[in-house]
Amino acid sequence: MNTAATTAIANEPADARPRARSRFAVSPQVRLLLLTLLLAVVGFLVIYPVLSLLITSFEVSEFGQATVHGTSNWERVFSQDNLNKALWNTVSLAFMRQLIGVVLGVCIAWMIARTNLPGRTILEVGFWIALFMPALPVTLSWVLLLAGRNAMLNQLIMQLPFVERPFFNIYSWWGIVWVHLMTSSIAVKVFLLVPAFRSLDSSLEEAARTSGASIARVFWRIVVPIMAPGILVVVLLSFIRSMQAFEIELILGAPKGISVFSTIIFSAMTREPPMQGLASALSIVFILSIIPFVILQQWYSHRHSYASISGKFSNRVQDLGRWRWPLFCAIALLLTLMTLVPFGFLTMATFMKMFGIFKMATPWTLDNWLAAMTHGAIERSFFNTLKLAFSAAISGMIAYTVIAYVIVKAKFYGARVLDFFTWLPTLVPGLVLSLGFLQMFTGVGFFRPLYGTLAVLVIAILIGTMTIGTQMIRVALVQIGRELEEAAWAAGGSRFYTFRRVVLPLIAPSIAVIGLEIFATANAAVGIIALLGTGSTQPLSILQLTLLDSGRFEQAAVIGVLIMTMTIASAILARYIGHRVGLGHQRATAA
């Protein structure tokens, strides 16, 4: 539709009545200009950082000297066998996580969506919270539980007869896999697959049951093959995310020399003097190595959109029989390991002089909290985090709503390009984006005043969460029946008035959920701001990283508890709101 709300009407005087609808009328030229400006800004923010990396990768001068161009960075990248090892670790770690994650994730998602598993609603909420668990604090708690001879769990196990050696060392390849499984690798699959399983027609399962198949056979022979395309799309998406992981690998891999792509870039940047050129060249290689998987994922998900979703389907649950309670216990145990264990033990750590050492005269103390409260850096970081999370959430809600609305509704030549731009950040690992932004904010004169302010971090967070934010609001917009808007126009509402009174109230819950997700992301973000949040703008997450690096676990635990509390709170709130939207949307589309 044309927004030119009041296109010239020949021979007819405009209506004299004061109207809500003509107040915000914008001429088509101004509208086009504004949209083009939006396109340019978004395009610049997603493209420039990568472009800047490419340019920097050809700068070979020493730190602080005049710029010289050359290819020596690239020669170094390809002469290092470090790179091959990092590439291998990146891919193999991601692969193993996905392999275990998908098997468990698919089984659990099916049981939650399709069977009479006890407490499945609560379990689903549990996985939602697990999905939000911030990686760094969780890593820390597993370090405290499973790192070497002194770790609590290992000590407990060594008291058993015949166990001489520590049972498991978290500083290892498997340790990295374990912590990833405990944070997002399983939870994200449950989260994404449960709705897909719900839309499966249960008569397909029932037909197999009545043909004499056991419930396990129904699952493997009927459910999994039908859902295979959807499962594969989810797996590819998580695989890409896994390759981009940063903080868990940094903490757990570095002591044993297990490096991945993001950590070798980070170490190049934190060397004295920082090797910007090498880090940039590595970043470009990193992006290039991810691109094939993104193309594969896009190609595959376009070919196999979620099938088997028809208008009418029954959704009766399958009986797990005597396996109900054993399976419930297994899943509940897994969820406990994913949520309560990290949170509980991390909290415990904040009250101990030395975590896990009870043999002291007085193992318990409030010193850590007192120190944290009086520690200038922690207090400042706490407020930095709050400021960062709130400003990112608020500006993100506005920005993504505008972008999603333009993509879905506006007749604008650049709508498709804009859509493409919002997908681009998924390609770029957080740490690489961080490096790109660092170069953009220090290198481009126009932006230099911003460097060292919180605004830099806000922008980085916004670019990092742009894909999910825009796409979620876009889905909400698409779900609003077209006639709901047309009815408002027909009733005399202008574009703006209609948006405010009809569209916005209907997508408001989705926007709120996005706001909370940005809030949680900003709270826990490490990779994407690792190179930006230093000095006076340092948020809690980066301070925690620094403390961990220097081995001050108890103080890091205090910060971890703070981050976890804020993140879990926003996750629960988002879940509550999102659950209510789900219903609202069904009604809206059914209307």
């Binding site: 809500a20 202008s494 209307a591």
Partner: protein, 379 residues
């Protein structure tokens, strides 16, 4: 063909509220609506009737401005509201029409009151006016007392009433309705149809109505425009379209017909005489649609089944009859549904009354009243 003015057709002297002048709408090279013209008069219900994809909804959407016309002009009263040649386009919100959508489009986050008040709010009406007008119209549609009900807690019929109230609350000159009964069950549909007709007469509103349901169109409309492939095939009062369809499409779309192949014997002042395959001769006083009515020209006779009288075979020699045999008979309570074999492998499907007893295999004669037999080209 000769178009005689038939019963019920008087020139409408009420002012024209909506006029489409040679309106077309192209989607790519495909003409969804192809040079459609009609006028909607004050207080009139005009129905666009046709199968799905005939362009009726697109025509309606062009009237409100949700689609723009590719060529032609749309006038609202005396005001041009869409005319690409003159670079005029008034957007939907400035057209002051009311519209009822097929899905009703009740905003789920608003109460019944807020839904209905919306058109008044966009027009900047004062609060007191809004209150009184909304309550008045809710009473009219039978929803008094429902004002505070949330939009999503309404049954289908209630949603439809809210949609009508919302369409009418700002006193538009035209109410546009896009298949407003198609989402309701049959009983409710009949009741709401009657209610709408009563409300329309009481408020003297003009309605442009879109439907694919011929019963609905016949029951509701002052005039019907039958559409096919983006064009209007025929426009006129329901009785005129039913009794004097101008094209085979209109004939077959509205109601049933018994069709019989024949050849012209002679055309004269006393109607047209035709001969059936078995030699039976019939006379038609109805309309002759043949371009070439020369002797021996092939033609097709049509009669509405309810005009046919059944004459027992014994009473041979009755005028204008065709011999037939009852092949299948279904008792449906009020009447029998029969399939009757006619000469040369043709058949007629019609209702037989309960006043006589019928049986399968029975020989009967079908009497075609002369004035109801129409002659068509045999395609």
């Amino acid at each position: 063909m000769t178009q005689s003015v038939s019963q019920g057709e008087q020139p409408n002297v009420s002012p024209v509220v909506l006029r489409m002048e040679g309106v077309s709408r192209y989607f790519g090279a495909h003409a969804a609506v192809d040079c459609v013209s009609f006028e909607l008069h004050k207080g009139e219900v005009l129905t666009l009737l046709g199968p799905s994809g005939c362009g009726k909804t697109t025509t309606l959407r062009m009237a409100i401005g949700l689609e723009r016309v590719s060529s032609g002009r749309v006038l609202y009263g005396s005001r041009v509201i869409d005319a690409p040649a003159e670079r005029i386009f008034v957007s939907p919100e400035d057209r002051d029409m009311g519209m009822v959508f097929q899905s009703y489009a009740i905003w789920p986050h608003m109460s019944v009151f807020e839904n209905v008040a919306f058109p008044l709010r966009t027009r900047g009406a004062p609060k007191s006016t809004i209150d009184s007008k909304v309550n008045e119209i809710l009473t009219h549609v039978g929803l008094a007392g429902f004002a505070a009900r949330p939009g999503m807690h309404l049954s289908g019929g209630q949603q439809q009433r809210v949609a009508v109230a919302r369409g009418l609350v700002a006193n538009p000159d035209v109410l546009l309705m896009d298949e407003p009964f198609s989402n309701l069950d049959a009983k409710l549909r009949d009741r709401l149809r009657t209610e709408l007709r009563v409300l329309q007469r009481r408020l003297n509103i003009s309605i442009l109505f879109v439907t694919h349901d011929q019963t609905e169109a016949l029951a509701l409309s002052d005039r019907i425009a039958v559409m096919r492939d983006g064009k209007i095939e025929q426009i006129g009062p329901p009785i005129e379209l039913y009794t004097h369809p101008a094209t085979p499409f209109v004939r077959d779309f509205l109601g049933q017909s018994v069709l019989v192949r024949a050849r012209i014997v002679e055309s004269g002042a006393d109607g047209t005489r035709v001969r059936l395959g078995d030699g039976t001769q019939l006379v038609s006083h109805g309309r002759n649609h043949l371009a070439n009515a020369a002797t021996e020209a092939k033609c097709l006779l049509s009669v509405r089944p309810e005009e046919i009288r059944i004459v027992p075979a014994a009473m041979n020699g009755a005028a204008n009859t065709v011999a037939g045999t009852i092949r299948h008979l279904l008792f449906l309570g009020q009447y029998y549904e029969a399939i009757i074999d006619l000469p040369r492998g043709q058949e007629a499907q019609m209702h037989l009354g309960r006043e006589a007893t019928w049986h399968e295999g029975q020989q009967i004669h079908l009497q075609f009243p002369k004035e109801h037999v129409q002659i068509w080209d045999r395609q």
